[in-house]
Structure formats: structure tokens, C-alpha cells
Symmetry: C2
Subunit: 337 residues, 2 copies
């Protein structure tokens, strides 16, 4: 029998905690018998939610945590002071080896800082990037880094390219993933200081399939599998994806409501349209892994519902089964010698 | 009688030159009797296109230019060497005061560099930003800077905020335009080094209505009128707007073609949808002004068709009539004392 994958879940994190978090965790356990979920949070509240569902008791365990880190709290201070918060207790479980991974819809800052401070980086990793999957016309692409390390240096971006390649190859099963750096033109001499310095390093980096610069316009078209950028730019890309998508869909809906003729049409196209647009819904893809840690941390949207939590927990299983961290260590250290 | 506004148009720039450029210029002249257009480019080719249209001869003049600057050419070198190119000759017309403004769909690099080198900056302006209008749910917003000055300093961003405010107030008639800086979180302490340093300067800057940080997600929703950012980030925002928009509309169309039911619906919603989505088409808004020069330079998309050229030429009229450059000079120098 395969070993159980143990996942700590922040039962108190996000706008829909604990109800949707508990629901998603139970769904993941019910879908995959090799998962054991540790629901970390206020015991009574979590138990009340659990009672609404059916599950195998050996797959779910509650770990009591009396404090909650709020989104607005300065992360470093919160991690240091709130020792009995769901985030700190869950991260401790991963650090101690009691869990393999941690999933949270809570404070991004606290999860990112806590992951680095409590779990710690893999040997050789300079900065752990946050790397969400984003939808493209051809499937998905990994946006790396997307909020963990602003003002990164060229050597960090090279490591992001390596870690992202491992992830897309082993978790998403993309053969020889195409790596590109976000730039403001296709030519090598274009860009800001960071990109100009990083470009030749990526070009000469063994073990990755670097295809050059990518303009933001070409990201949704699916021209690359691993989109390398500094965290500020990555965060802008991720959030604009959501923003433009949301606004356009609103416009489409409003456009359909302008005449009787179009209203009738809207009723007819609705089911097909809903199905297609689902592919462009970021929440379908589970959370964003924080790569390069001794253990896995997955950050989901603050607005996560059960489906995203479930997908994120199941993502942890693939991550462990594919021994991603061993592969990252290998790629990082091999080429650094 | 009002003074004529004289606009030099790069007849050879862009994918659809000279046909669409000439067509757009003629349309602008026919729509506004106070415009005189100078079509700069290969005389014979331009004349052949002109012969296809009706116009008042006193409103259109051809200025022969025997060279063309290609998009791929390094801009500084091209501007220096190709003295008889349409871009250099048109910029000379503005420099000499024979024209008030210049519109080009040609090489962005050459237009930006040439504008600064040949026409020159207004007194007090450190760096002239490129500032396109982008569509939002509530109308439009000015994205400033969007490609002219990568690796800008905080003082540049403050000037962008001032120039953008003048533009939105005087050209777009937005009262007391809301200025925001692109950031990765709403709180003042968030951001990269540039944003953290710029934030307090904007907060204390008189003469602008600074409302704080804006996350990329909230740009399409129309939370601000002047979106201040460094050029690399601005370029990513502009191009991703186009990219996500294009991909989503493709998805919507494909979604409507998946069943007989939805195909019938598509026929019914199409006209209404087309009308609504037009508001989200960047090309409807004319080109992007390069602000802060002694004269106006407007850069349009490389793929510009007649409508964008026409709108850009007409934009130059408003710009001159509203005495934008006087207002910019006033705002920049006043607060610097």
C-alpha cells in the first residue's frame, strides 16, 4: 500500500472559513484514500462543520488552534507572536515531519513568511517563489514568481526557471516545458536592468528549455509553459488576469441583456458559455505552490470555496508522489557546481 | 476663425501604411475643418492613396520622405542616420514649428527617442511618459508610463502623476481625476522599493488627487483615472489587457459554437454583444500621447487602421485647443519651487 500523504489545512483561513475549507478537505479525502487531512483551527467550530459531512474518521484529524492571523496584520510580527494560530501550528506540523504539506486560504504574507521562517528553504534555494497556474488558450502556464520576492536578483530568476520547469514537467506532465522571461519586447536587448542581466543567464542555463522573451500580450495565448518574472510584475499579471476577465464577462452579460432578441439568445448560449468560461476561472486550478521549501506550502485564494481547497489538497499528493523536492534539489545543486 | 491645427502624420508607419494611414488622415480632415494634415512619406505612394479619397486640398499636404525606419532597427541609430525618414522629417516639422503635433503607427522606439531628441522636453520635465487610455467599466483611465522610461525614479513617477492629471482633466474632462499608483497590495507599506519610495511623495504632492495604491485587479473596474506606474509594469498591463481580452473573446465565440442550441443563441446575441465589446477595444481610443514634449507626439498601434489614425489626429486638436502643454509646464514648475 502506498504511504499516506499528510496535509495540514488551515481551517480558519480565507473568507469562507471554516465551512468551505472543511467541506473541501473532506471532499479531497473522500476522493483519494491515500490522503490524511489535519484540520488546524478552533476545535469546536471545525467539529460543527465536520458533522455535516460523511468521511472515514482515520482520514481526518482536528488539531486545535486558538488564534487566527488576520489578513491586515504585519506578517513577520504575526508569525512571531501568534504561536497558537492555525497558520503557525500547521507550519509546525510540516516542520516536525508530522505533515508533508500545508494548504491555506489565509493571510498571504503570513503564509509566505511563515513558510520560509518555520519550514525553511531547501538547500541551495535562495528565494522560494510563489507559482500559480494560469489558464491559457492551450491549457495552463506557471507564473513564477507571483508575489513572494519583490526586487529579486537575476540569480533568483534563474532558480525560478529551474524550479518552474521541474513543476511543469513532473506535476503538470508537460514534456520539456518552454521557459520564457516576461519582457516589453521580443528582442534580447529590450527590457529593464533586471531582465537584461537575467536574459543571458537563462540563455546559458543548462537543464531548461529557454525560448527567450515573452510579451504580456502572448501569455494568454499559451506561448510558454513557465513564465519567469520578478514578483511585483507577476502579481500585476495574476491580478490583471482576474480583473480583465471579470470585467469582460460582466460586459458580455450586459451586452446580452440590451434587447429582447439578445435576451432570448442569452438563454440559449448560457450553458455552453458557462462550460467554456470555466476553463478560464483561476480557482479551478487549485492554489499556488510556494516552491523551494522543505515541505510543500500551497496558498489558495482568500475567496476559496470547497473546490479550490479540494484541488489544492490533491495537488499535494501529486507533489509528494512525484518527489518534486528531490528533483528541485537535484536541478538547483547540479547546475550550481 | 480659429487657428488651424497642423498635424504631421507618418504615412509610412505601421502594418497598414500607407493606405489606412492616408484614409484616416483624410477622414480627420473631413470631420474637422480646422485641421491641416501633413502626410510625410514616399510622395508617389502617398499620392496614389490620396487619389482614392475626396478632401479639401488646402487641408492636406504631402511632404516627401525617401527613407523608412523599420520596427526592428535600434532606435537611436536609426534616428541619427535616416535623416530623410518619415519619422525624422515629421519630427523636424514639429521642432521648427511648422506643425503642432505628430502622429505615427511606426517604430515605438524611434518615435519615443526621436520625440525627445528632436522635439525636446518641456522645461522642468525630467522624462516624457507614454500614456495610453485604457477602457474600464466606468469609461477610460490613463496608464502612465507605458513604455517610455524603464527603471524610472520616484521623482519621475510624481511628474507622471501631475502630467496625467492635466491630461485627464483638460482632454478627457474628468473633474479632479483620481490618481493611484500600481501596487501589489492596498496598504502603504506594501510594494517594491520604487513604490515604497514614491508613495509618500505622491501623498504629499499638491495639485493632484492621490487616492493611494491600486491593485491590478481593480484597474479594469475603473477605481482610478490616472494609473501611475514604471514603464515596464505599464507595458505589461497594456499588453495583458489586449492579450486576456483577445483570448476571452475567442473563448466566448468558441463556447457559442459548441451546440446547435448555442449556435442559434449566438446569432441572436451577436449584434448586441459586438456593440458592447467595442467599448473594450483599445483601438477605439486613438493613440497614446507622449507627454511633456515641446509639441505633441501621438503613438498609435502598429496595427492601426484608419479609425485609430483619425481619432489620434482629432486628439491633437483638443490637445492644442486646451493648451495642455502650458498647463503641464505650470503644474510641473509651480510645485517644484
Amino acid at each position: 500500500m502506498a504511504e499516506m500523504v499528510k496535509v495540514a489545512v488551515d481551517a480558519m483561513g480565507g473568507d469562507n472559513a471554516p465551512a468551505e475549507i472543511v467541506k473541501g478537505a473532506v471532499e479531497a479525502a473522500n476522493e483519494n484514500g491515500h490522503v490524511k487531512v489535519f484540520l488546524v483551527g478552533a476545535e469546536n467550530a471545525v467539529r460543527r462543520e465536520l458533522e455535516k459531512h460523511s468521511y472515514k474518521p482515520q482520514q481526518i484529524e482536528i488539531v486545535n488552534a486558538t488564534e487566527i492571523i488576520e489578513t491586515a496584520e504585519p506578517p513577520v510580527m504575526a508569525i512571531r507572536k501568534k504561536k497558537d494560530s492555525s497558520i503557525v501550528k500547521a507550519l509546525q506540523l510540516v516542520k516536525n515531519g508530522e505533515c508533508d504539506a500545508f494548504v491555506s486560504a489565509g493571510s498571504s504574507g503570513a503564509v509566505l513568511v511563515g513558510g520560509q521562517v518555520i519550514i525553511g528553504r531547501l538547500k541551495g534555494v535562495e528565494r522560494p517563489p510563489l507559482a500559480p497556474l494560469i489558464p491559457t488558450e492551450k491549457g495552463t502556464a506557471l507564473l513564477i514568481d507571483c508575489g513572494a520576492n519583490v526586487d529579486a536578483r537575476p540569480s533568483h530568476l534563474v532558480q525560478f526557471a529551474k524550479m518552474g520547469s521541474v513543476y511543469m514537467e513532473s506535476v503538470m506532465k508537460v514534456r520539456n516545458p518552454r521557459v520564457a522571461i516576461v519582457n516589453i519586447g521580443a528582442e534580447e536587448e529590450k527590457g529593464n536592468a533586471l531582465v537584461k542581466e537575467t536574459f543571458p543567464l537563462l540563455k546559458n542555463c543548462p537543464g531548461i528549455n529557454f525560448i527567450g522573451s515573452i510579451e504580456a500580450r502572448d501569455i494568454p495565448a499559451g506561448y510558454a509553459d513557465v513564465i519567469v518574472c520578478e514578483a511585483f510584475v507577476g502579481n500585476v499579471i495574476l491580478k490583471l488576469y482576474e480583473g480583465v476577465g471579470g470585467t469582460l464577462i460582466k460586459k458580455v452579460k450586459a451586452g446580452m441583456m440590451t434587447s429582447l432578441r439578445s435576451k432570448v439568445g442569452a438563454l440559449l448560449v448560457k450553458p455552453a458559455l458557462k462550460e467554456t468560461l470555466k476553463e478560464f476561472d483561476l480557482e479551478q486550478y487549485g492554489g499556488a505552490p510556494l516552491l523551494g521549501l522543505k515541505g510543500l506550502v500551497v496558498k489558495t485564494h482568500g475567496s476559496s470555496e470547497a473546490i479550490e481547497i479540494k484541488n489544492s489538497v490533491l495537488q499535494c499528493v501529486t507533489f509528494k508522489e512525484q518527489k518534486i523536492n528531490d528533483k528541485i534539489k537535484e536541478k538547483i545543486t547540479l547546475e550550481d557546481e
